[in-house]
Amino acid sequence: MANENNTISITYREAIKQALRDALRADERVFLMGEDVGRYGGAFAVSKGLLEEFGPDRIMDTPLSESGFVGAGIGAAIAGMRPVVEVMTVNFSLLAMDQIVNNAATLLHMSGGQVNVPVVIRMNSGLGRQLAAQHSHSWESFYAHIPGLKVLSAGTHEDARGMLLAALKEPDPVVIFEYTAMLNLEGKIPAGAGIVEIQKAAIRREGKDISIITYGPGVYKSLEAANELAKLGIDAEVVDLRVLRPLDESCFLQSVRKTHRALVVEEAWRSVSISAEISSRIMEQAFYELDAPVHRLCGVEVPMPYPKHLEDISVPQAGDIVNMIKKILQHD
């Protein structure tokens, strides 16, 4: 392709919208359903304009019935459709957790392999807009805990553009986390960007001194930190987990075997978290490769406060990553 090396500038929001448009154009079985996805244009304006283009049968506004419409997405999926169900935020998804965990994740197994559930469930996660304690959390771990689900975290513009397209090709339920704080961020993607693979983690920056293992908004913050560290002569590698279930452990283990140090960064609360899982797997499988204990930078264990100055210090920022790595490398 002639323009493969050309890049375009795009917001994270627009990348998701382009993916939705591609998916709706490519397959008549695909439809989008969720609260305010149609006439309102999407709570975060992600689906603005799609109703006009595809009509109300394919862009379905739903009532405020998270369990009802997520369950309906599951039912439509087992009956031959390819629904994309948007749940406004991860906080609201708890109202549909029965459907996601007890139905979507179990039907294939309970039926002895007869009933697969090709549903895609998208939800916004994380903080960044002073939305306080019922709209701002990072609960990827709730879903990453569940066998039967595939859980994706779109930490880059390219993944925002491509993960949905890949998820729609999966025979089983896929939960995709998108990030409120990133919606307005501009990024560069190849002009011909489209579907991406969704099996593997990715090295977003190669380095030799320490592996920063992260996902979601942790990716751009870690890259920012790595650029700062480079000025100090520290060469950090940034691993974007991308697929939170099933985990691609070979990627981060290989990285740790190369750098011999690991810092796991996430916005979620520390206790019983994805970073705990990553740390544990490194201990189990690469302990003798380590030159320092595995460190973690996580969200402070508090329901998200409203004021900006408190919200900002509730999660790790690039500066925190820089400081922590300087400590680990005894660079102070």
Binding site: S67, A76, L108, M110
Partner: protein, 326 residues
Amino acid sequence: MENTIDRDHGKQMLYQMMLIRRFEEKAAELYTQTKIRGFLHLYVGEEAVAVGVMQALKTDDNILSTYREHGHALARGVDPGRIMAEMYGKQEGCSRGRGGSMHLFDAGKKFFGGNAIVGGHLPVAVGVALAAKKQKAARLTCCFFGEGAAAEGEFHESMNLAMLWEVPLLFVCENNLYAMGTALRYSHSLPQIELKGSAYGMESMAVNGMDVLAVEEAAIRAAEKIRSTGKPFLLVCNTYRFRAHSMFDAELYRNKAEVEEWKKQDPITALQNLLLEQGSLDAAAISELESTVETAVQKAVGFAEAGSWEPVEDLTRFVYSEPQNS
């Protein structure tokens, strides 16, 4: 019953109810012998609902059911041997032994469980019906649930969505008066479940669920309405389970006299008597039916006994689809 009934059709429905009854009695026996484990919820007393409703459904229609679903599966024509093998946990079972008594599946018969979160399959049924509408298929979806489920939020969300989206869905509420051990009067501010349809503008009716002919007639009418209008319908079948909620239930919440009173309305006895009175069957024909049923149940048990255990190496299969599913 004041109706008359075609001899062969009556005999067929009687056979199905008798098969369910005998199958369930056998299952209880096998449970005490520890051949069947886990939860076992028996359908004894409620046979007229499954058999009556099934008369209104076509082979292409979809069915979703509850954890008290052996009767629905049998009436749908799922092989009794595969159901029994499922309850044994054998890989020849209709869900390869992965589901057990509460999770009978047979995709070929369009039988989608066997769902054990009360009310949890109702939204799924809405979606299955929505898919048929989007595909412009004539398929109807039938969803069985108990009156206990009608207290769940998912019932109300599903009623609203089904009517709002006008999907071809038959809601069949089997009101057996007890949600486990909690009586209807302790769980519903409005105990006439059929009246809840009006909150959503949904047509509904209640029927004597102990009378298979009444259930059949109501279900056919409801199904015709759904097929002609595309809109959902709520059919409430007032029935009673003669046995305990599950094999763990000491039945402290209801008295024996009440159970005995309901047993006078036994749906099998009622249909037998009708067929005898109208001269369609004689005592010899009934005992012949009994022996056919006995043979079928014995054959099912034999099939389950002869079944095999899934190899332990297969433990983690069916968590995700295997390549041929994709």
